[in-house]
Symmetry: C2
């Protein structure tokens, strides 16, 4: 057995923060150690592993082993590890515990994670737990759960540090020391008036550096950046990044402080939003709800089927375009050789243009009013690209199609790259104007629209420039 | 004139943190106010605007107006505003100042921003400035500039707070108070041995909460998460997000502490990395170097031309595939109606699959060893999608092509969606194995490869299932 316990040495299992760390292999070692009664070894090992890493490893275990491993942790650390588990796993774990144990665990969790977990429980389980919770905790869960998903209110935590007006720096530090155990952060403290409106913000750094008798009102910054509960979580996270904040105050309709978004939660929000935009750009919509590794097959199917089916119908227009020119094609079958290349170029140029625009709109680099300016620049860039592409395929055009067809292909290439680019570049603006997420202008959507345009332009030009009889 | 000055009221120009804030309109008002000598009004206004917002507005002005506006700010605030400007604008501004003024400004800037600015200057300008800098500053710039772009070393700052072994909590707080003005953050302090190796980390919060006589070595966390100077900036930023750190220590080959990456810089890194992946996924490679709004036409051209031209040649294979089946096509021209729809479905399914995988690999959800497991799941999802798509177009198949062609189309659809998906899903793994960035498996690349496969599968099936004569 000693070899298994030795394997629990982080240097042997591999450091969990190393890029090639294998959580499921570590979980196997852990499982074996638990089976063989190596509780003390597991405890010693846990003491050297970060909570986020413990959670990753435990998530690979079956529920009984996971519960067993969690029971070896102290309450505080256990609450942290549980907070790092996927919410559905948290719910399964909690359902396996006795009511009083759950109540103790929930009390120890941070307010926002507690509310998320509570909401993931089924109503039977919620009803079982409610009587065990203190009134203040019930109220807190209710309040934090009352904001729609995706809003700043839904990701904030109520555990902010606040100070009344009129304290000195020393008094303020004493007050922050007193409340620290219950607060998400004490590095930013908000000074509230008697209506709980934010009249200033002060950093612990400034409080420490200032003379002890200095007044907080003289140290505080009174132009406070804040967000409203109904703002999107994305815009709130963006403010934290832009203004380098430790915590962003979230205020309600009555201008009262109701919570904060912390910098570490803002990073998670930014990552989740980037992932959603990324998926959307690839034509997969909706929230995965888990990592791609763990997502269910039906969920993955639903994310993808909508666009795929919609786009099939968009491509019927391309088919109809081809059918409309069947005579021209029959007379010049060699035109078909260039079809994939031309419509792909149109689609690719469009996908590039839309990608640049979608990301710029997401990061705030480009706004609605920039459309005109962007259009002019896009035209120039696309014209240069079109001419380059045209030159690149001129030789093949002559070789495969002769001079006549080569001319059609060369002219078509310039035009489809420009048209595809302008469509790709404009679509995000159009969608944004229509109150859709600009990221809906995904590669697949733009490609399909540009394809239709490409087919019509190509055969339109061919019909106009080539003789109708067989060459 | 009073109306212009009134326009400087932030409530009238619009709050800079509002989503519809127009920096260039605010710049016009500011320019007019400066022209008319409203220096005091500008100063009053600046006092209520965040540095990041002032920088956004000034970036819209010509250099002389910008320099004039900056001269109205105190040195400390000016250094902060300058640090928020695009680096090329910073370089232009600095070149317009006298040497002693630049030296004062550089001294006030944070170490990482100072090094970035210095490196953006041309060598003549660097040589002009060097003698005006203190030895320590020159050394610091040299050290911070010595790491390749994209590494943790290149984004770290040298202004970290460190503590010797053996202090009490009270002594530690006193020491942090003393060094605070020169440190990026004092909320995380690193305890170093006499070789400057990190033996622990302690938060200001813990120091404040602890009894004043407690020893720092008893309060500190000795399992310190760190990154090495040569690690990618992306992996360092990822650690900050994962472990909710305020600052990540960066150590060199000799295990000595040389800098920290702060949480706010990590957010910027994460955003830049997401943007780069996003662009890459859309087939635009390289660093934009500025916002899309301000990027030069040649830069935009270069980002896009490589993939566009490469993909044209990939699509020649599709053309050759079509040409190879010219007889089948001539005999059944109606097959062409379904061509765009089938190859688009193959390409779209591939783009979806690769997008999910690329993002999962970027966020660490999926690793190389997960390929086998992912392949099995992808096959299942793709088969379901293919059958759905096949059913969706069956009616049109019969209507446009008759039963024979409809059968070909239905069978082809199932196969191309599966093949496209498996290509899209596997390509990021293949690229990663070949040491390319998996994000290179962009939509356009996957779409082009899937298109070739789609053409060959379609006409291959058609040639096998349909009679060779005209229907």
């Amino acid at each position: 057995m000693s070899d298994i316990l030795e394997n629990l040495d982080p240097e042997l299992v591999g450091r969990p923060d190393a890029p090639d760390f294998d959580a499921s292999a570590a979980a196997d070692v852990l499982h074996e150690a638990l089976e063989k009664g190596g509780d003390d070894a597991v405890r010693d090992w846990f003491a050297h592993v970060q909570e986020a890493d413990i959670a990753d490893i435990l998530a690979e275990l079956e529920l009984p082993s996971m519960a067993r491993a969690l029971s070896l942790l102290g309450l505080e650390e256990r609450a942290e590890v549980v907070g790092h588990l996927p919410v559905s796993t948290q719910a399964d774990y909690v359902a396996s515990l006795e009511r009083s144990e759950v109540a103790r665990l929930l009390r120890e969790m941070s307010a926002d994670e507690r509310a998320d977990l509570f909401n993931a429980l089924d109503t039977v389980e919620q009803d079982r737990l409610l009587p065990a919770l203190a009134h203040a905790e019930r109220e807190d869960i209710r309040r934090l759960s009352s904001y729609p998903e995706g809003t700043a209110g839904a990701v904030m935590t109520s555990e902010y540090a606040s100070l009344p007006e009129g304290l000195t720096a020393r008094q303020a530090v004493d007050e922050l020391r007193r409340v620290a155990p219950d607060k998400e952060t004490i590095y930013s403290a908000f000074i509230l008036d008697d209506q709980r409106r934010v009249i200033g913000v002060v950093s612990l750094r400034d409080l420490i550096v200032a003379p002890p008798t200095a007044l907080v009102v003289d140290l505080m910054e009174s132009d406070v950046i804040s967000a409203r509960v109904e703002d999107t979580q994305e815009s709130a996270a963006e403010k934290i990044a832009r203004y380098d904040l430790i915590a962003l105050p979230i205020i309600n309709g009555g201008d009262k402080l109701v919570g904060i978004l912390t910098a570490d939660d803002a990073m998670d929000v930014a990552e989740a939003e980037a992932t959603e935009d990324f998926h959307r750009a690839g034509g997969a919509i909706g929230n995965l709800g888990a990592s791609v590794r763990d997502a269910t097959i039906p969920r993955l199917y639903r994310m993808r089927v909508t666009w795929l089916v919609l786009l099939v119908f968009a491509n019927i227009f391309s088919g109809a375009g081809i059918a409309a020119y069947e005579d021209t094609i029959a007379a010049h079958l060699t035109l078909l050789f260039f079809l994939p290349l031309l419509i792909a170029s149109s689609g690719n140029a469009g996908a590039q243009a839309s990608t640049l625009m979608v990301r710029a709109m997401a990061t705030g680099d480009v706004q609605m009013r920039d459309w005109g300016r962007m259009l002019g620049r896009e035209f120039l860039v696309a014209a240069l690209l079109g001419v380059t592409m045209s030159a690149a395929i001129a030789g093949i055009g002559v070789w495969r199609g002769g001079v006549d067809v080569a001319q059609v292909v060369a002219v078509t290439m310039v035009i489809v790259v420009i048209v595809g680019s302008l469509i790709g570049m404009s679509l995000p603006f159009l969608l944004s104007r229509l109150k859709f997420d600009p990221a809906t202008a995904s590669g697949p959507l733009v490609t399909s629209i540009a394809d239709v345009a490409g087919v019509l332009i190509y055969f339109g030009i061919a019909a106009a420039m080539l003789s109708p009889s067989v060459a």
